[in-house]
Symmetry: C2
């Protein structure tokens, strides 16, 4: 299994914040970086995930064998601990599929989409 990457959109903003303030995505990226992610987990910013109506948004991905998840409506004030717990649970799997009840509520309720690993066969 490959390394896990957290990709945070640094551009998007929530509708309820001051447009002149630092973008919540940048604040979230800094907060997660400072809090410290599990060993082997990389974090990066990206300028646009095209999920602008659901910002802050982030992607959780991890090599060729794991499902990829996209989450939205995240808050740098409220969700850092839950994100860290969810990332740790994901990183501990081979396929990215954390049992439903072990996922943080924000990951259960604020998923925008998920993508199967590249080598998953067709299901019709």
């Amino acid at each position: 299994m490959g390394d896990v990457t957290v990709t945070v959109c640094t551009t998007c903003r929530r509708a309820d914040v001051d447009p002149e303030a630092p973008r919540p995505g940048s604040v979230l990226l800094a907060a997660l970086t400072e809090a410290g992610l599990p060993e082997g987990v990389r974090i990066r910013g990206t300028e646009c995930l095209s999920a602008c109506t659901r910002g802050c948004s982030m992607v959780l991905s991890g090599g060729d064998t794991r499902w990829t998840y996209i989450y939205g409506d995240l808050s740098p004030d409220d969700h850092v601990d839950d994100i860290l717990a969810g990332v740790a649970a994901y990183a501990a799997t081979d396929d990215g599929l954390v049992p439903w009840r072990q996922r943080p509520v924000i990951f259960r309720k604020q998923s925008i989409a998920r993508i199967p690993p590249a080598d998953t066969p067709s299901q019709e």
Copy 2:
């Protein structure tokens, strides 16, 4: 650059269709397969992309160097030709970034999210 994959959710449905009819995602998968995708493009179905409110949905991905795109609100009746054109334009790129005006309108307007290639450096 790796092979391009089109992943169609076969489970989700549009709000306006008969719940007893074949799922539009299955119909879309069959229509794209029958129409014939560009050489080197693989198509597969998947049982859930967790983009249920935006069905039909599909993912366009292609190896380690291309951006990944997720599209929603697709119709097997109206969008097959546009999807094929958009997939061909994407497959002709190294990085998945088709110039804006060369993208089909449905790809411009119905993007749910996009994900940078795994090796893209952090932008902060």
